[in-house]
Amino acid sequence: MRSILVHLANILQAAHQPLLASALGQWFLAVLWYSPVVFRKPWLKSLGERAPKKEWIMILGTILSFFGSMAVSFVLRHVVWWTGSAGLRHGAIVGLVAWSGFVAAPLAGQYILEGRPIKLYFINTGYWLIALVLSGAFLARFQ
């Protein structure tokens, strides 16, 4: 309990603005990525029967994804700190490594096992590639 409190006090001393900005950026990217202008149609098509039927479900998912982005930014920021990386390039490399290990690799087998189309895999992990690389670069540059 004590160590948790100390850890919390420790985290609270860091600047919060980059974290919030990174999460907001990821969220806006998601809204853009899954918008009708970009990948809404192929995404819904590759989902097939599993496409969300109601509009409010998609809105709820969009709202909830912000909290997910906050968590992702929070963890990515720790990894950026641990690597001691500063600057856009090193942050982007950290984001790329995190994506390859924690998004692309584990999801590949799972998507094949669940019989999901390869297009869906590329749309979903492509979003995370761009999101993680950009926010990694941002978090390393603005600490």
Binding site: Q13, H78, G84, A86, A104, A105, L113, G115, Q143
Partner: protein
């Protein structure tokens, strides 16, 4: 730390463990709910089983490799724990000193005696230097950034490095 210095057997064992966990998870443990949720039926022949097993093993290898990096990057748990414990004494006045219960059965706990109150008001002042110490510890040394003094440089008074270098000690 170079890639070649990792314990390759450990990475292989981790990947194998992930693979076996996946096999167990989707066959014995959660096969029925998984089939119901993904819309598969028992009658149909499973497609892409071999491919998914091969892919998930390679994926497990990549994941274990990246995870080994993150573990190397992260601060040692023992050091972090000992720093946390040494800083924890500052939170001692927050302990419950008086527990009052009313006749209705409601109990409240407050560190409200004068002596502890004095301590409580000063607790942030005790915590602050330790927090900075931990933050520095977590930040893994000086920030390698050109031009601007980092938090580490500000707090320790060290000069900022002139050249950016990405060299792992």
């Amino acid at each position: 730390m170079h890639h070649l210095h990792f314990n390759h057997y450990a990475i292989l064992v981790a990947a194998l463990f992930q693979w076996f966990l996946g096999a167990l998870w989707y066959s014995l443990l959660f096969n029925k709910p998984w089939m119901a949720l993904t819309g598969h039926t028992k009658a149909e022949k499973p497609k892409g089983m071999v491919l998914s097993m091969v892919t998930s093993f390679i994926g497990g290898l990549i994941l274990a490799f990246v995870l080994a990096h993150v573990i190397i990057w992260s601060p040692p748990v023992a050091g972090a724990l000992s720093s946390a414990l040494s800083a924890g004494w500052a939170l001692w006045p927050l302990r419950c000193s008086q527990r009052r219960c009313t006749s209705s059965g409601r109990c409240s706990c407050s560190p409200s005696t004068p002596a502890t109150g004095w301590f409580v008001s000063l607790a942030p002042a005790f915590c602050w230097p330790f927090g900075n110490d931990l933050r520095l510890y977590w930040s893994d040394g000086p920030r390698l950034r050109r031009g601007r003094r980092s938090r580490y440089n500000r707090l320790t008074g060290e000069a900022a490095p002139r050249r950016r270098a990405f060299v792992r000690q």
